[in-house]
Symmetry: C2
């Protein structure tokens, strides 16, 4: 999706961001992609319009957009592999900020409703849920 300079200007202002050409193009590439894409693939798309752009600029601006709420991050606890010795099916509570993981009990999922929403062929025989929020410590830090 292309935005006019005016539209992006307004959007950026609302989120407290300075406007640059690079930023507008990066943002538009994300929106146009209609999915959940990696920085590399955004970079590839952006280069078609700004061949001289640097990968670091793409990363910087994606981070910036995420911080100010223009984009949403989809990478729960992506930094490193984690293993769980408890293989009984159970769900997790994850802090969006510090990526800490703790177990959570309880039957809070309506599996009937959930299965009605599943795309065809998706296998949910061992459903695992991750609920994201802010842990106490991160919340305290503001």
């Amino acid at each position: 999706m292309r935005l006019t300079h005016e539209q992006f200007r307004e959007l950026a202002a609302k989120h407290g961001l300075a406007v640059t050409h690079q930023r507008q193009v990066v943002y538009e590439a994300v929106i146009a992609s209609h999915g959940h894409h990696s920085p590399e693939s955004i970079y590839a798309a952006v280069r078609r319009r700004i061949p001289s752009i640097s990968l670091a600029t793409v990363y910087n601006n994606l981070r910036l957009f995420i911080e100010c709420g223009l984009l949403r991050e989809v990478t729960p606890h992506a930094s490193t592999l984690r293993v769980d010795g408890n293989i009984k099916p159970h769900h997790h509570l994850v802090c969006s900020r510090c990526k800490s993981v703790q177990d959570i009990e309880g039957e809070f999922i309506d599996f009937n409703r959930l299965s009605r929403q599943l795309p065809d062929g998706f296998d949910l025989t061992q459903p695992l849920i991750e609920v994201f929020g802010l842990c106490r410590r991160c919340r305290a830090k503001t």
Copy 2:
């Protein structure tokens, strides 16, 4: 938790794994850690009992344990950052195998029950849920 050699031997046999001293110590380190730890931290723990162990062995055996179901992986889509241009609160359906992400609609969470399970101080004002399963393609591959 320490297991006797016999206990681990039995456990490994059940999952079709050969028994080695390294494997037993790695496994015990995960179980004893009672949490969701990274390979590096498991490595640190294991080195206290086998100073000569190599990091690759820890990785190899963790992967092996995960594959055969002795451990559970807790790393949803860990390989790389993903961004979402859609910042309206919505939930995701994630394939545990290929890490693909798609949106999922619907009110399938009972937030009353959920909040009752939350540890003190956990902030769930903007609850985001990720539901894990197997996408059609990965399911077909067996």
